[in-house]
């Protein structure tokens, strides 16, 4: 179990982590989701005792990260963002080196090494120098190394960064199997929504060093309310916005209507979309003021969740800014999130 209490990290005048409080339970997969520079890696480094926090503390497996760093290190495995194996050595030699550094008992060393090699599927390449490995293989070797000493907590910092989609899927499978087979607690950072959605039991959304939302992916998505019907309307036709709004909102299953007349896009948040879609189409046809060109039905993604919380965060932040006379400009904030909107 990991308990993070009132954790702060400041570099000069920049606050990288701002009052972080998180509890991660045993055998949980916990995701830290946020854009680059949000403080995810710093938090992981602090928990792994590589950096000292400015204030506050945390316990990992019952050991305090400041008072018992050595015990913390023995009980965790960590996979860094960039591969950190020695590429002059073979995969096997890298694992051997770390089994010695982690004081894996002599009689268990070879057994553990072959176990983890098998787990990540590198057994037949174990004697090749790491420089001959592909990016995905290097990542898997790092994971094998992280598991070598049977840690109860594993940190994965951006486990699929820079991997192609198919390697990423393979990696997800490994991670899932790992959690099942090895009974570990997993903390992973990512800026891929679908990754957090697929792997995590709970997600903490982190931005500018603050946790702005924390819940299970399902809860976070349900918080948005219902499913989404996305329609494309014929552009040249006259669209009577008020009429459509009024008619749709009369239905009790419609929660929210979002019509952009310029783009000709219509977003309707509804309950039980697949059954209510025909009714909606009928209403739209009857208005005679528009023509539906395409319909898409989807559940809200974490993407939507992210945008919602990020937006709320901006509004709140701006309120603060007025009071504190903080010069930190919020300009470019949405641009930073634009990358999520495009996916």
């Amino acid at each position: 179990m990991i308990t993070i209490k009132n954790l702060y990290k400041k570099y000069d005048n920049v606050t990288v982590l701002n009052d972080i409080n998180i509890k991660v339970f045993d055998n949980e997969v916990f995701g830290l989701l946020g854009p680059n520079g949000a403080g995810k890696t710093t938090l992981i480094h602090i928990l792994a005792t590589l950096i000292k926090p400015t204030a506050g503390t945390a316990t990992v497996n019952g050991y305090d990260i400041i008072k018992n760093p050595s015990e913390v290190r023995s009980s965790i495995g960590i996979v860094f963002q960039a591969p950190s194996s020695d590429d002059m050595l073979s995969g096997y030699e890298n694992l051997k080196l770390h089994s010695l550094l982690y004081a894996v008992p002599k009689e268990l060393r070879e057994k553990r090494i072959s176990e983890v090699l098998e787990l990540v599927g590198l057994t037949n390449r174990k004697d090749d120098q790491v420089k001959k490995y592909s990016g995905g293989m290097r990542r898997r070797l790092e994971i094998a190394r992280g598991l070598l000493h049977k840690p109860t907590v594993i940190f994965l910092d951006e486990p699929t960064l820079g991997l192609d989609p198919s390697s990423r899927e393979v990696m997800w499978k490994y991670i899932n199997r790992l959690v099942k087979d090895e009974k570990i607690t997993l903390i992973l950072t990512t800026h891929y929504m679908e990754e957090a959605d697929f792997l995590c039991d709970r997600i903490g959304i982190i931005d500018k060093g603050m946790i702005i939302a924390l819940d299970s992916p399902t809860q976070l998505k349900e918080g948005l309310g219902g499913e989404v019907i996305e329609m494309e309307l014929a552009k040249k036709k006259y669209v009577d916005k008020e009429n459509i709004d009024r008619l749709l909102k009369q239905c009790n299953f419609v929660r929210k209507v979002d019509l952009d007349t310029k783009k000709g896009s219509l977003l309707i948040y509804v309950d039980d979309a697949s059954h209510n879609l025909p009714a909606i189409l009928k209403i739209l046809n009857n208005t005679n003021s528009t023509e539906v060109e395409s319909v898409e039905l989807r559940s809200p993604t974490l993407n939507d969740v992210f945008l919602k919380f990020a937006q709320r965060h901006i509004t709140r932040k701006q309120g603060h800014d007025d009071e504190d006379d903080d010069n930190d400009s919020e300009g470019g904030f949405m641009e930073r999130y634009a990358q999520y909107g495009n996916k």
Binding site: I51, D86, L101, A103
Partner: protein
């Protein structure tokens, strides 16, 4: 001494002998692991081995033969007695030290690469004391320096250097002391540097001055005061002096005991500075 360094001031643990012994045993295994990694990488990087053997040979044969043919350094009383020693033989101990300087200082500062490729981070996040990491690296540097020097020592036969079993023992001890000192220096410098750009500074401001000021290429007897002061401050001076005495029987301006004493002192002090630097070094 060794145990004290390893324990790194955790005095309270020393009261508990049993856990203490176990702890030392585990740290020694970790030290071996770090040393072994350095040794394996050294064996695989053949270009490094070839390059650092070639330069000293170039000096020994081109400068040695070239200057030896025209320079009469040995008109002074000190050398007149033994006419067998030519300039080439005279600089041979200095060339050995040159090889040790290059290998050790570069080896130490290669830690910048370890950091660049995140390997260092993976070692630092393991439950290994910084002192152990330092000593593992230092021993790695000593091993590589000794292998490099051994190749040159064999070349020594060709230019007529005579070895005795006793002189061999001294030669090895001197080389190990010097390489520990200089690897520590390299590791200390490397631990303070963030970027690879600093590497060139080390070459210009550390490696070459250490070599040129050591009296590797000239006797120290009649130097102007400013140069004499600088040679006194260079630890390599004492290694060159000591090697010259055991290889060629030439006593320089310092006695053998003095040379060994200063070398020991430099090894201990630079080793301590290195351990302290490693403890303070930022992991990320």
């Amino acid at each position: 001494m060794m145990i004290m360094i390893l324990k790194g001031g955790l005095w309270k643990d020393m009261l508990n002998m049993e856990t203490n012994n176990k702890w030392i045993e585990l740290e020694l295994v970790k030290l071996y692991a770090i040393w072994l990694r350095e040794f394996k990488v050294f064996l695989r990087e053949k270009s490094r081995l070839i390059a650092s053997t070639f330069t000293p040979l170039l000096w020994l044969f081109v400068i040695g033969e070239g200057f030896g043919a025209t320079t009469d350094l040995f008109g002074t009383a000190r050398f007149a007695a033994d006419t067998n020693i030519g300039y080439q033989q005279f600089i041979f101990p200095g060339i050995i030290c040159m090889s040790v300087i290059f290998t050790s200082v570069f080896f130490g500062s290669y830690i910048i690469w370890d950091r660049k490729f995140d390997f260092l981070k993976s070692v630092m996040v393991a439950p290994v004391s910084r002192t152990t990491i330092f000593l593992g690296k230092a021993f790695g540097g000593m091993t590589t320096s000794l292998i490099q020097a051994a190749i040159l020592l064999i070349v020594g036969f060709v230019i007529g250097i005579h070895y005795t079993p006793l002189s061999m023992v001294f030669i090895v001890i001197i080389i190990l002391l010097l390489s520990f000192t200089l690897t520590s220096l390299g590791l200390t410098l490397g631990s303070h540097m963030e970027s690879l750009e600093g590497f060139q500074l080390i070459v210009s401001f550390v490696v070459f001055p250490l070599f040129f000021l050591s009296g590797a290429l000239f006797p120290l007897d009649n130097l102007p005061t400013w140069l004499s002061i600088l040679t006194t401050l260079d630890p390599v001076t004492y290694a060159v002096g000591a090697l010259r005495e055991v290889m060629l029987g030439i006593t320089g301006i310092n006695s053998f005991a003095m040379n060994i004493g200063v070398l020991l002192l430099s090894a201990v002090s630079l080793g301590t500075v290195g351990v302290l630097s490693f403890r303070r070094m930022r992991a990320v």
